[in-house]
């Protein structure tokens, strides 16, 4: 089920990107721009250290340790940055660079997150969401902070 779902998502992202983008890594959806202390990326059950410059994909979970923080720029210009002891999951991403239509769904499972929304939310209000364990945020713009499980 989850594998099927994931390949569906990847196919969607690839289909969208194939329309308008000339890129070396079509599955990339964002990039780590800032990493301090312990920061890891979990991809398909494996954890790897998240160095500055690391590229992110759909379904990645970015985790920070007690001394960690991380800043991410998504391809639609959304900025996501998390403080210590955080877990941020990039659940769903689709972005058509020609029309600016898309979706960006993330989950903050714990910790703190600051968000500056990008072109997806600007084009379509509520096409960007942040889910916490007990709430769903619909993003109409632009800059906010959210915490989970504190």
């Amino acid at each position: 089920m989850s594998t099927a779902l994931m390949s569906c998502r990847n196919a969607l992202v690839l289909a969208v990107l194939a329309g308008g983008v000339v890129a070396a890594h079509a599955a990339d959806i964002g990039q780590v721009k800032i990493a301090k202390g312990q920061v890891t990326i979990e991809r398909q059950g494996k954890a790897m250290p998240a160095a500055v410059g690391a590229r992110l994909q759909v379904a990645d979970v970015v985790r920070t340790g007690a001394d960690g923080s991380v800043g991410i720029t998504m391809d639609d210009d959304s900025l996501l940055s998390a403080g210590p002891n955080s877990a941020l999951s990039l659940d769903n991403y689709a972005f058509d660079t020609t029309t600016n239509q898309g979706r960006l769904d993330t989950s903050l499972n714990k910790g703190t997150l600051s968000v500056i929304s990008g072109r997806i939310a600007k084009q379509t209000p509520d096409a960007m969401t942040v889910r916490t364990p007990n709430a769903i945020l619909g993003v109409r713009g632009t800059e906010f902070v959210v915490s989970a499980n504190d």
Binding site: G20, A23, V70, T73, N134, R140, F144
Partner: protein, 201 residues
């Protein structure tokens, strides 16, 4: 024996109560921050069928088992709780706009001079990635303009690569006549719409 069973039941009940209380205690905070240019913004906070919309600077909601509760946060609250997250925010993208000669993928003379500024901005960033977005005016069909806008963006991308930018760090896209800088009717030659935007981030 019955006594032991009763005790075990009691311990089990305590464990369940603890888990429930733990779940109740876990909540979260959402705070809308002010916009630099004063634009209207908003975030909706939904729990089941209950919703709070935050649409003023420092409008905030506390989420817990009872649903979202609105309040007003202070900048001090935000810094105390979110300081490290805010400090890790990547730099916003820098945007450059360059203009083209009508129907061609050549820069105007003035725009050619801006390229050095673009390269300097790219050099200033620790891990640059660059998006080149091509646009056209409304002369011609949608498909012709989509192709022309992408061609313009691709020319710029190749130009940046020729000046030493890594190919995997530059993406070229075309938006045709969908995003006019100066709104016009269809079929209007408008130099300010024939442009590429270069986003450096």
């Amino acid at each position: 024996m019955t006594d032991l069973l009763a005790r075990l039941r009691f311990v089990a009940a305590l464990a369940v109560l603890g888990a429930v209380l733990g779940a109740c205690a876990s909540g979260g905070t959402v705070v809308l921050l002010p916009e630099k240019d004063g634009r209207q913004t908003a975030v909706s906070v939904r729990q089941g069928d209950k919703e709070v919309v935050l649409d003023q600077p420092y409008a905030a909601a506390r989420t817990n088992a009872q649903g979202p509760r609105a309040y007003v946060a202070s900048p001090q609250d935000v810094n105390a709780q979110f300081g490290p997250a805010l400090a890790a925010q990547p730099a916003r993208s820098a945007r450059f706009t360059l203009y083209f000669v009508e129907g061609k993928d050549e820069f105007t003379d003035e725009s050619r001079k801006l390229i050095d500024g673009v390269l300097a901005e790219i050099a200033r960033r620790p891990v640059p990635d660059v998006m080149v977005v091509g646009h056209t005016d409304t002369v011609g069909s949608e498909s012709a303009n989509d192709a022309l806008s992408r061609q313009r963006a691709e020319v710029v991308r190749k130009g940046l690569i020729a000046r030493g930018i890594a190919p995997e760090d530059v993406v070229a896209i075309g938006r045709g006549k969908r995003n006019l800088l100066v709104p016009t009717a269809d079929g209007v030659a408008e130099p300010r719409n024939r442009r590429v935007e270069i986003l450096v981030r």
